[in-house]
Symmetry: C2
Subunit: 194 residues, 2 copies
DNA sequence: AATAAACTAACGACCGTTAGTTAGCCATCT
DNA sequence: AGATGGCTAACTAACGGTCGTTAGTTTATT
């Protein structure tokens, strides 16, 4: 792997673990096997490296959602919803990218809040549109209970994804998968029966 | 309010917004109307201030849970569960304490990870015990569906609380309350029918 | 008179960043 | 073929600034 990509990978993991302010260019450089000023041969600034990683993560998450919806288009609705949820949740185990993204979403660096919001804003509305279309189809074909409103579904879905993402920090993958089953069983029961 | 409490209140809000590494003693001092070194008349170090705030937040959350369980002991089970969830979720709107706690829980400062885990560990097991007793009672009296296991309930409850806590960053209180209704309706349906 | 709590001054360490230099690589030109 | 020049990416040295912290002093309160 070339130096630039190596810096990005190392930056991703360090920013995820220690945050923007808690990560120094010296740490990144040392982990990459070069000296601190050499980073500037590849990125204009610490902020530029961070924002490029942020844009990548946002793009990857949306690509993941689109891929899940496309791949499972022909499957039963329950499978499609479960797959979508699982893909979003296990995003966190992708080479620290999930942790990075979550941190970026909830606690963007104070100096970069304007740029950060520009990145996340468009992402959220794109996801919203897909979710609403999804729940409407589910209700129409009778897979979801007819009393379930768009708003309720979207709120519950986001809540579950956020909750699961949080739990990926606290539990190993095995334990997380156990918890996922519990969350899924309650969520699915909640959107179908009631 | 005396200077010490003022420093704690200001520290809470700044740590919540900008994190441990992103907050400087100079900022705290300025907001409190004193000079930076004067902080050391009240706290041994930046870390000591932060950890005291962390312990306070952890204690307050547990006290909140206990209070909710005690206050609603005589109410219908649905009301008790809803109240508990709501109390946990709206913890976030308590003068930045919720944001602080969430950040502390998910992204503790790298230098204080040992001390941070010591604080959160005992808190979590205390909450676990209460939740398990709660779900068992709910099943026994027929308020929860008999197929709902302890594990599934605990996982789903934590997930919902974590998800709601996350959403408190993103939405104003009014919008949050709207979302809470959606989450609650799905969650309640999920733990009863199915 | 004693104590608490503010202050000023300054310390050493580290931060992100810039400047200037050097080594290697590849295309071009004599 | 061999020399030339430009480009990339590494380096060392150092800058100005800020960090948390300490020492020593003054002020106010009890």
């Amino acid at each position: 792997m070339n130096t630039r990509d190596r810096l990005k990978q190392i930056g991703l993991s360090l920013f995820a673990r220690h945050g923007y302010e808690g990560t120094t260019l010296a740490q990144i450089a040392t982990a990459a096997g070069i000296k601190k000023p050499s980073i500037y041969n590849h990125f204009d600034s610490k902020a530029a490296l961070f924002l490029e990683l942020s844009r990548d993560a946002d793009d990857d998450l949306i690509a993941l959602i689109d891929a899940s919806l496309a791949d499972m288009a022909a499957a039963p609705f329950e499978h499609r919803l479960r797959h979508l949820l699982q893909q979003c949740a296990t995003f966190a185990y992708r080479e620290h990218q999930g942790v990075f993204y979550k941190r970026f979403l909830l606690f963007p660096p104070q100096d970069l809040v304007t740029e950060a919001e520009a990145i996340t804003e468009q992402g959220e509305s794109r996801i919203d549109r897909r979710l609403v279309a999804f729940v409407q189809e589910g209700r129409r074909i009778g897979a979801l209970r007819s009393t379930l409103t768009d708003d309720h579904f979207v709120a519950a879905f986001y809540c579950v994804v956020d909750g699961l993402l949080s739990e990926t920090f606290m539990y190993e993958k095995r334990e997380f998968e156990r918890r996922f089953e519990g969350v899924w069983s309650v969520f699915w029961a909640g959107v179908t029966a009631g």
